[in-house]
Symmetry: C2
Subunit: 308 residues, 2 copies
C-alpha cells in the first residue's frame, strides 16, 4: 500500500486509513455534493459525519448542521460525536459514548493526529460555505469529554483547534478563543513540554499495545490507551538519531521524561540503570545496541535518581 | 514584589529572578559592554555566562567565546555549561556537572521556561554582533546532557531553540536544524501532546515539591525533579477554568494524562474514582469543590480504567 508523505504535509495511508491533507485537495476547495467530497477522498463516507477507525484515528469530519449542539468559532470548533439520534427528527434520544466513530476521534486526540474538517452550507454558521461543502484544513483534537446536550442526553464532545497555518478559514476572535485564555482575563500560558511523535513511533506503540517497556504500565484513558514513543538517540540536531524502529521505545509519559532527562539509562544487556528490572520486549521489535550506547554516553557518570 | 506580565511577553519577577523578555529591551538591542548589559537587566552578571537560580530557572546566557565547544547555528545553539575551566587559559581542566548555574538551565528545561540569549562580538560566529553585545531574544532549553569536550573532560550541554517569532537573528538552515530532521532525510514529526504551564502552576509544583497528588511519585531527573500542573476545570474555551491555585493540581505526567482524558476523577471527599486512595494535600493548598464537580461532570457515567 502506498504511503505518501506525512500527516502534517500530505496524507499517510495506514491500513487504508487516510490521515492528513490530500494531494490535490487544497484548503478552501469547494465540492457540490457529498458524492464529490467522497470521490475526491476528502471525506470518504456519504452519510456519516466522522470517517475513521478506532485503531488508526479519524480521517475527517463534516460539519453539516446535523447536531445543533455543535459550536463553530472558526479556528476552534466544539464538535458533537455520533450516535443516539432519531434519524427522522434529528433529536437526541439516547446517550452517546466513546465507541465506534467517536472512538476514532479519541484515538486522534491521544495520538496527536490531525483531522480534516469539512463544512457544509447547511451547517448554518458564519464560517459555512455559500453552497455545497468546503474543505477547511487540518484540525487537532485538543480535548474530549461528555456533557448533557440540549435534549438531555449525554453527548460526546470534541474540542478541535485549527493547526496553525492550516486553515484558510481560521478566524480567531482576539481575546476569546485561544487555549489558556479566559473570557474575563488573560492567563499567561507557556509550553512546558512538547511530546513529538512519528508514524513509526505509533506503529511501535501499537506493537507493544501501549505498554511501557520500562515499567509495564498501560495507561487506559476513556476510549483508549496512551503511550509515547521515545527515540533512544534523539532526533534532530545535534544528535541526528534516525527514525527507525531499532531506535524507538514505547514508554509511559513518566518514563519518557526520565529517559530523556537522565533519570535512567539502559545497559547493553537491557537491564535498567537507575531503575530495577529489564527493558520489556515485544516480538518483532528489537533496540539496537549502538543507540543504547549513545544514550548511555549522554548520561555517563550521572547518578540517575529515578522514581521514589 | 512587582510582577509584570509573563514569560512569553514580558518578564515575570519570581523571587527576584527575572524570567522572560524585558520591557524596553527589544530583540536586536546592542550594548557596548557587560556593564551596559547588566544595567539594562538583560544579563545581570558582569562575568558569569549564566544568570539564574536552581529553584526558579535561568534568566539569561551570554555567548562570549569563552567555551570553544559552543555551537551556534542561529536559531539553534548548543551551549556549554559553566565550571571546570582554567581561568587563565580558558581550557577545561575538570568535569562539569549539573549543579549551580548549570542546574538553573536544567530547571528552565524541565519547566519549559524561556531564557534570554545574548551574543558577544568576541563569540566569533556568523551570528555574532559587529561590536559589544546584542540581545537576541528568548530561547527554549530543548534538551540537556553531558559529553566529553575537546579537552577530554565531561561538559554539560544545552540545546537551545529560538522561540518562534522571538529571535530577530534566527537563521534556520533549511533541511538541517529543525527538531526531528535528520541530515540525510526528513523525518515527519507531529506533536502528540503539548503540556502547558502557568506561573501559578509552577508555584503549586514547588509547594508540593514536585510530588504527584494522585500517587505520591516524585520524578527525579538529572539535575532536578519534574511534575506537571493540571487545571481541574480546563483553561480556555469552552470551559474557561480559572488559573487559580484552587483549580490546579500537581501531578506526574502519567496521572496528568489520565486526569485530562477520563482515566480518573476526584470525589467531593477527595477520594479518587478510577484509582485507589485519596488526593494528597499540602499545607497551604486546597482544591475547590466546584472545580472538582465540573471535572466529574465531564466524565459523568464514564468507566475510568486507569492504571493496570
Amino acid at each position: 500500500m502506498p504511503t505518501t508523505a506525512n500527516e502534517t504535509g500530505e496524507s499517510t495511508r495506514v491500513n487504508k486509513t487516510l490521515i492528513g491533507s490530500l494531494r490535490g485537495v487544497e484548503v478552501g476547495s469547494l465540492f457540490d455534493s457529498r458524492r464529490a467530497l467522497h470521490d475526491a477522498g476528502a471525506h470518504r463516507a456519504l452519510q456519516a459525519g466522522i470517517v475513521g477507525r478506532r485503531e488508526f484515528g479519524a480521517e475527517s469530519i463534516v460539519l453539516s448542521g446535523g447536531y445543533f449542539d455543535d459550536e463553530d468559532h472558526g479556528s476552534s470548533i466544539i464538535y458533537t460525536g455520533a450516535g443516539g439520534r432519531d434519524p427522522k427528527t434529528g433529536r437526541q434520544i439516547a446517550d452517546q459514548d466513546f465507541t465506534g466513530h467517536n472512538q476514532a476521534l479519541v484515538t486522534s486526540c491521544l495520538n496527536g493526529l490531525l483531522v480534516r474538517v469539512v463544512r457544509g452550507a447547511v451547517h448554518r454558521s458564519p464560517h459555512s460555505p455559500p453552497f455545497g461543502y468546503r474543505y477547511d484544513g487540518l484540525f487537532r483534537v485538543e480535548r474530549y469529554w461528555r456533557e448533557r446536550g440540549r435534549d438531555g442526553f449525554l453527548i460526546c464532545r470534541f474540542q478541535l483547534e485549527a493547526e496553525v497555518g492550516e486553515s484558510a478559514r481560521a478566524d480567531p476572535r482576539p481575546g476569546s478563543e485561544l487555549p489558556g485564555e479566559d473570557s474575563t482575563r488573560r492567563t499567561q500560558v507557556t509550553a512546558l513540554r512538547v511530546v513529538r511523535d512519528t508514524a513509526l513511533g505509533r506503529s511501535i506503540k501499537r506493537l507493544h499495545d501501549y505498554t511501557c517497556q520500562a515499567c509495564g504500565i498501560r495507561l487506559l484513558c476513556e476510549g483508549g490507551p496512551y503511550a509515547e514513543a521515545a527515540h533512544v538517540k534523539p532526533l534532530g540536531s545535534p544528535h541526528h538519531g534516525p527514525d527507525r524502529t531499532e531506535n524507538i521505545l514505547c514508554l509511559c509519559p513518566n518514563h519518557h521524561v526520565l529517559f530523556d532527562n537522565g533519570g535512567f539509562t539502559i545497559e547493553e544487556d537491557l537491564s535498567l540503570r537507575g531503575l530495577t528490572g529489564c527493558l520489556r520486549l515485544a516480538r518483532g521489535h528489537s533496540v539496537a545496541a549502538e543507540y543504547l550506547a549513545y544514550h548511555r554516553a549522554l548520561w555517563e557518570h550521572s547518578t540517575p535518581g529515578s522514581l521514589n
